[in-house]
């Protein structure tokens, strides 16, 4: 399966889990809202219930008071009750559930109240009638009837009280049921939240592990391959999965193979070139030697018969042949500077001293300042110093020339300087002198091949180093070149 698909699936799963969590919380909040609404309604119901009961009690006591005292002020409370109780009951009926036990209770209360009001109304009317007719004598019997009937009245009132009690109890029970329900919902939601959270964590952790171990590991293998390639180690990857990373692996493999092939080709070409240069120079030298010797023999055999011009001509032939030999040797040297040598511990001061002792005449003054010890390709450095010092000797003005060799150390490289007080080089030619076969023909008796500096330049180019010359005609020359410094190899 493609990586993108896998990752999308994983993240979708996490999103879905989040969504589910949100949903369950949403449902909980709906339930809480419901519960709140229920509670406020319940409170209203209880308030109404209390008011209703109170009103009925007021009616009862007003009724009793009037009967006992005949004071019509008591009737105020009774009449207010008469008016308002039905209204309250109607309201309460609206608030209460249609098919509930509470409705039944309310209906009972309604009915009982009617019974009582019938009873009380009758008694009050009778009392009023007698009071208005001045029949005070008949009031007592009314009171008697009242007392008799009080049992009935009392019974009704007790019943009403019971109903109210039951009603209230029912309401409280409902409240506790609702409350228990809500608690249960909350618990359930908590459980779900924990579940979703755990699942989310699980999916998240597994995705991370997957990314790190499988995907990153493969990426690391590819990085490793790239590093190998950069160090010339052309290995390939084995990637059989068929996802986005596989195409990268394939590309890297192609690159590695291509580089490997090209470098092999180049190396082969270089080897062939080297062989060619060697064979050419070797085979060119043989006939040259032959010519040289024959000319020598002619000179020897015809010593006394040869005219001065002829002698000179023979000499010129010999000279030219020598020069050609030098050129061929120089070419061979130039071709071979590409050869890799292995780094070794090099005491540069010793190296330079040996060169000086070999090629610098004793009449010269040579000053060598502190030179470093380093691990480097000794032969190449030796070649550079040899050529520079030999040039210094070649182009000196007198037998007592002066050569100074010094070194400056920098963090990543060295800067070497070979300075002489010879004939100097016209600034016009400062960059030309490093070209192959360039020599400055003016004013020098000893011919040079023009290869020495070209060889130096080639060695330095291969090392990514530079050389520059500070010089002017008659003012000597200073050649400054850089050389790599490999810090942690000593």
């Amino acid at each position: 399966m493609k990586l993108s698909v896998q990752l999308i699936l994983a993240f979708s799963l996490i999103l879905i889990l989040s969504l589910a969590d949100s949903l369950s919380n949403y449902f909980l909040s709906v339930k809480v809202k419901e519960n709140t609404e229920f509670l406020s309604r319940s409170q209203e119901i209880m308030r109404n219930s209390a008011s209703l009961h109170k009103m009925m009690i007021v009616m009862q006591s007003s009724f009793r008071g009037y009967l006992l005292t005949h004071d019509s002020t008591f009737l105020a409370g009774y009449e207010e009750g008469l008016r308002r109780v039905p209204v309250l009951i109607k309201e309460q009926k609206k608030l209460v559930n249609e098919n509930s036990h509470q409705k039944v209770l309310l209906d009972s209360v309604d009915f009982l109240h009617e019974e009582w009001t019938d009873y009380s109304n009758t008694l009050i009317r009778t009392t009023n009638y007698h009071i208005e007719n001045g029949d005070m004598g008949k009031v007592n019997p009314v009171l008697y009837i009242y007392q008799f009937k009080n049992q009935i009245g009392k019974k009704i009132n007790d019943q009403i009280s019971e109903k109210f009690l039951a009603f209230d109890r029912a309401e409280y029970k409902q409240r506790s049921v609702h409350s228990a329900n809500l608690m249960e919902s909350i618990e359930r939601t908590h459980t779900f939240s924990i579940l979703f959270f755990s699942l989310t964590m699980l999916v998240g952790v597994m995705t991370t592990i997957y990314i790190i171990s499988f995907i990153l590991k493969r990426i690391r293998t590819m990085v490793h391959l790239a590093e190998n390639i950069s160090q010339g180690n052309f290995t390939t990857l084995d990637d059989k999965r068929n996802d986005e990373l596989t195409s990268l692996s394939a590309s890297l493999n192609i690159m590695s193979n291509s580089l490997s092939r090209n470098i092999n080709k180049l190396e082969k070409q270089n080897l062939e070139l080297d062989k060619f240069a060697y064979v050419v120079s070797h085979d060119l030298k043989a006939p040259l030697r032959g010519i040289h010797n024959v000319v020598k023999w002619i000179g020897e055999d015809m010593k006394n018969e040869v005219t001065p011009e002829l002698k000179k001509y023979l000499e010129i032939i010999s000279q030219r042949i020598s020069r050609m030999e030098d050129l061929i040797n120089g070419l061979l040297e130039y071709a071979r500077t590409r050869e890799q040598t292995s780094p070794e511990v090099t005491h540069v001061d010793q190296l330079v001293t040996e060169i000086v002792e070999t090629i610098v005449p004793r009449s010269f003054e040579v000053r060598v300042s502190k030179l470093p010890v380093m691990v480097t390709e000794k032969l190449k450095l030796e070649q550079i110093f040899t050529n520079l010092i030999s040039n210094a000797v070649k182009y000196s003005i007198s037998e007592n020339g002066r050569i100074e060799i010094s070194c400056k150390e920098f963090r990543n490289h060295y800067e070497f300087s070979v300075k002489d007080n010879g004939v100097g080089i016209d600034p016009e030619y400062h960059h030309k002198i490093f070209e192959l076969f360039q020599t400055l023909r003016e004013k020098n008796e000893k011919e040079s091949t023009g290869i020495g500096l070209a060889i130096i330049k080639k060695i330095l180019d291969d090392q990514h180093c530079r050389i520059k010359v500070k010089s002017d005609l008659g003012k000597g020359s200073e050649f400054i070149f850089t050389w790599p410094r490999i810090e942690n190899m000593i």
Binding site: K285, G290, N293, W297
Partner: protein
Amino acid sequence: MIKKILLVEDDELDVISVQRTLEKLEVKYDLYTAYNGIEALGMLNSGDNPLMPDVVLLDLNMPRMNGIEFLRTIRKDSRFDDMKVFIMTTSSETVDRSTTEQLGISGYILKPLSYIGNIKRADSMDAFVEFHLRKILTDN
């Protein structure tokens, strides 16, 4: 008795060079020249007047039969066991010393047309002439 020297060498200039060097010797000798191994064998085996050289100066790189093959052939013939064979080599030639030494060599000479090289244990032509040839030719 005048000693005989057989020079087996294909390069014209090398022959002249050896001849000129030998001429500096004040000792008399007879110099015979063959340009390859076959010619040399011919001279050694020629019917009524076979050549019996005291010294053979042998080049290795020759057409038709090179020095080693020639050497092998004559070493099979015991008539030539007393012959002193010197191999002429250039500095850049790599001589298979084990083979040549097995075939009984008296020494190695650096060819005068050679360059200054690193070959060890080979005398220069002049040194050879001075120290070996003179002695061989004047020995009785």
